[in-house]
Symmetry: C2
Subunit: 182 residues, 2 copies
DNA sequence: TAAGATTGACTCTTCAATCTTC
DNA sequence: GAAGATTGAAGAGTCAATCTTA
């Protein structure tokens, strides 16, 4: 009996995951080639890998943010505001920078406001608009959450510095090709 | 006025996206360094890049699958079954291979069964279990959807073959370090 | 007692529709 | 009319609780 197949769950907060004893995506790529889809096989493997990597990373990030009652989406809003010069931004700007729907921004700001981390203010230069403004508490929580993420996720990915920086560059190419930025 | 900032929406099916004229993640990395978090900056950039790449790729994939009334999650179930020797698998096996919760599998199979692409059958070797079995229609749709994805996404990522294969290898390292497989 | 599967509550996202203000 | 923001419905994921059977 191979112990790894029955290995314990991985990563605090991720309940469902048992490690497989082989890479399911490499397996899928072989199946693709066997079907005569060799030209599409590498693309399929990359797309699937990005999906799975996102799932794994998001689980780790969310586990670290749970004590602060934050999700990654809400954390991103907090950091965006904390980097802005006034500590406040129009909701539309937030959605544009984070590439999410207006509805998601409204939802995120609703939660952050209920938690006292953000305050809604009328936009002085546009009567239609609303600003999301960071509170002192919001700035404090953002900093604490960043300390947690920095130490337990961002500096603990388990791969070399070269892998990390190369990965960033290649993903940047991919995002640019997909129209994320120009 | 920089035209790209006001450029049209990108990619069929993705309504919300306007391309930015700079890379917001590279910008965030600079902010991280300016805050004195240089050691965590590359990790932050990679994690955020994976999140954004997933969002962009999923939007493209879902747009191609919409005519078949499929999501990527349901498409993955279909392909997993079509690669199995009998064309059927226990629901638990599906969840294990796809790394999703039992609830998600139940939901996906519910939809696929309602669409006539999959049939539930009792597991002959385990009275507690249920098999998801591909129907002829399911096998046909799976093949058609694959043709669409192969030609319009997997072979059209817009990056070189070297970038694609290197990206796969590095993501494989990252997934392995995160415990996706052993 | 444990495992396979389902259910219901909750969250988040997307999308269309709406309201207000430019 | 067009843009900023909100709302409600629908889809999908997680999680805890439950039911059945090994």
């Amino acid at each position: 009996v191979c112990l790894v197949q029955h290995s314990a769950t991985i990563l605090s907060g991720v309940t469902r995951v048992r490690a497989l004893s082989f890479d399911p995506i490499a397996e899928a790529e072989r199946k693709w080639i066997a079907q005569g889809w060799s030209d599409a096989a590498p693309g399929m493997a990359v797309v699937t890998s990005v999906m799975r990597a996102q799932q794994l990373l998001l689980a780790r990030v969310d586990a670290e943010l749970r004590p602060f009652d934050l999700t990654f989406a809400r954390y991103e809003v907090l950091m965006l505001l904390s980097f802005s010069t006034r500590g406040s931004l129009p909701l539309g700007k937030v959605g544009e920078r984070l590439q999410v729907n207006p509805g998601s921004v409204t939802n995120a700001v609703d939660r952050l406001e209920a938690a006292g981390l953000v305050r809604r203010e009328p936009n002085p230069v546009d009567g239609r608009g609303t600003l999301a403004a960071l509170t002192d508490e919001g700035r404090r929580i953002a900093r604490q959450a960043t300390v947690a993420l920095n130490s337990r996720v961002f500096t603990a990915l388990g791969v070399t510095d070269v892998t990390t920086s190369t990965l960033f560059e290649l993903l940047q190419e991919l995002r640019q090709a997909a129209g994320d930025f120009v």
